[in-house]
Symmetry: C2
Subunit: 407 residues, 2 copies
């Protein structure tokens, strides 16, 4: 068992070295706000502004995934100036295992550790515990698991995971949940949802008992579960809405179910979650998924697809999807995606990128990642502009076939 | 046998698709010049300026290696603005196999293919044929070999390799040579050197028979061989010097011999090669090697060490050499190398880079490579400044122990 256990059965967290930082900084935090500035009349799409102590986030927004404190193959300045990311994700599971919370605390949080100065959202580690860790054992208390890196034993509890995310320094902290697989038997989905709700109550209590780790505000987003069952999703959304937290998330989708199910559940839940709080659809998705779910009322997205697929040579562009490894791009000396603007999309050609990807050159992963993230941020920004000028629904119907076609 | 054979026995090169470009561009080329602007009084160090059609190169200079048309893990704009590289290398062997000469011709040369606008030097492929290719068979005519990528058969001849480098669009073309291993039996070294000399004659003839591929000047650098034998090195240097080419290179060193032997051979050869032409020591080396060889009269260097070792976590800094994987850097939140200036060296901390390298994050390779190349260019620029202000020899003696110590 690691010496860094978390949870009520081991309260070292609240008196150990990684709580020392608390109290050293003046608390200047103010409540995160969400200003809804436009609603589409022909869909449920919204445009808004989330204000955090690390700056504004204009919604709808896509959040690049920075698993272990780095958006893979991208420098921090590229995230800001080329991709124009407004918020990135960190993974509690990965950061807890490596570099570890004591070092992040010593640095003054993840922002100071990796140099990213805009907002950070951390997931709760729940999803990774189920998908990556070994020998996991779930109980009322939490989840015991072994590290996929070195096999060491650890326990995540709702309380521990709040403490860890406070210590990471996330602006937005996610509640600890169980993410059910697809398909999922009804009884399992119901019991799991109820466990997630009980864990949420514990997460909220822990948030209320503790203070921001580094002086800036940290808020909690609860997560709606319930698999693809309408009654469970409704109950979960109602429970989550009642908690009155500054934002809410939908989990357990984009795990293999048909898109229609994803849209049905998203639509149902968006009808219940409060209008005046941001809604975050976790782990979604393709450009098409994102446009459709913006139309259903989602404000925030994250997904590894643009970064992970980039490294395999799949490009998302304003003209459609390109497998750059295909022979057809071999002699194509045109820019990757001139319409986007930005360095990588206009400076490098398809033929050059194809050569790099096929030759397994690191620069290939760098360029493709810049292209895909620049495109994803361009797409949500375009959506926002259309919501603001009242043309979103028609534009969305026009864009979906374009961004989802294979070139 | 590939359809892209090169050499006198197969003259498709001079009439095939990849010679089409010749003649399409007006020849505005002028002779590459080398202006020697300062000489150190206490050593043989020199400062100069090489002027090419793609701009000036201030010597002494280090040339980052861009094997397959990419300096690994580095964007073109980072090479220019962060590293401040003035010239980069391409590898004939790699570029010929992938992406292949027809595509490079279609692009208008490597500069247009990868977007690097400053000078490019290409090696002749000789070294890679010996170190990477399979089933190589050397003869008077040239070298037959099988690709390490797909096993396909190819032949490199002096004439073919000149044609390929013209088609790549190198500003500086290297003669086709045999690079002897270390240790090397005297008879083998002598015969090999004589073969390299006969190949040089053929290279020069081929250069004279052909025109620049893309309108800008392309010049040939012959290569001195002779292993670690003083008499062979002397003969080879005299033969090379007599050819009257715009620059000269020393090959076959930094292949495992003691540093003292490298320095002895370099000193001997520099005493024979003309003063008024740049001297390029191929494949060298450590920061210490570079400073010592600048003192012996070398103007140009290349080496994979700063880029390759970066990817394994070895950092070259203005304070010494760091193995960033060592536990001692775990909590070190200080910048990589504040003295250098530049993005990566000042923005990222040692602890963050250590985390990335240990976690096998691509960004780790990117940051470490930027650091090492920024340092190498800083080092040769510092050397140049000291030559110009007359303090080089003392500065060099002070710097060698610093840049070679392990931190």
């Amino acid at each position: 068992m690691s010496s860094i256990d978390c949870g009520p059965s081991n309260r070292r967290l609240s008196r150990g070295p990684w709580s020392v930082v608390r109290g050293l900084f003046p608390i200047f935090a103010r409540l995160m706000t969400f200003n809804l500035i436009a609603k589409d009349t022909k869909s449920s799409a919204r445009a808004g502004v989330i204000t955090t102590d690390h700056g504004e986030i204009k919604t709808p927004i896509f959040m690049p995934v920075g698993t272990a404190g780095s958006v893979k193959a991208v420098h921090q300045r590229e995230l800001e100036t080329d991709i124009q990311a407004q918020i990135i994700l960190g993974n509690t599971y990965h950061l807890y295992l490596r570099p570890g919370i004591p070092l992040l605390q010593k640095a003054g949080g993840l922002h100071r550790f990796n140099g990213w100065t805009r907002p950070i959202l951390t997931d709760s580690g729940g999803y990774q515990v189920y998908s990556l860790a070994e020998n996991r054992k779930i109980s009322e208390e939490g989840v015991a698991f072994k590290s996929h890196i070195d096999g060491s034993s650890h326990v995540f509890t709702p309380e521990g995971v709040i403490d860890i995310q406070r210590a990471i320094g996330a602006d937005i902290i996610m509640a600890f949940d169980e993410c059910t697989p697809y398909p999922c038997e009804y009884g399992y989905a119901r019991n799991s949802m109820e466990l997630t709700h009980r864990w949420l109550t514990r997460c909220i209590q822990r948030m209320n008992e503790t203070s921001p780790a580094y002086g800036y505000e940290q808020v909690l987003f609860p997560i709606v579960q319930g698999s693809t069952y309408r009654d469970l999703r409704q109950r979960s959304a109602e429970f989550v809405a009642e908690q009155g937290q500054p934002g809410n998330a939908i989990g357990g989708l984009s795990v293999g179910e048909p898109s229609e199910d994803m849209y049905e559940m998203t639509s149902l839940v968006c009808g219940i979650l409060p209008q005046d709080k941001p809604r975050y659809l976790m782990g979604v998705g393709t450009p098409e998924n994102i446009l459709e779910c913006i139309a259903l009322g989602i404000d925030m997205f994250d997904c590894v697809m643009p970064t992970r697929n980039a490294r395999n040579g799949m490009l998302f562009t304003s003209e459609g999807i390109i497998n750059i490894r295909n022979e057809k791009w071999k002699d194509d000396l045109s820019p990757l995606d001139a319409r986007l603007g930005g360095y990588a999309s206009t400076f490098y050609s398809k033929a050059y990128l194809r050569h790099l990807i096929i030759s397994k050159e690191i620069l290939g992963a760098q360029i493709a990642t810049l292209q895909n993230l620049t495109f994803y941020l361009w797409l949500v920004n375009q959506a926002r502009e259309r919501i603001l000028d009242g043309t979103f629904a028609a534009w969305k119907d026009q864009m979906v076939p374009i961004v989802s076609r294979r070139l």
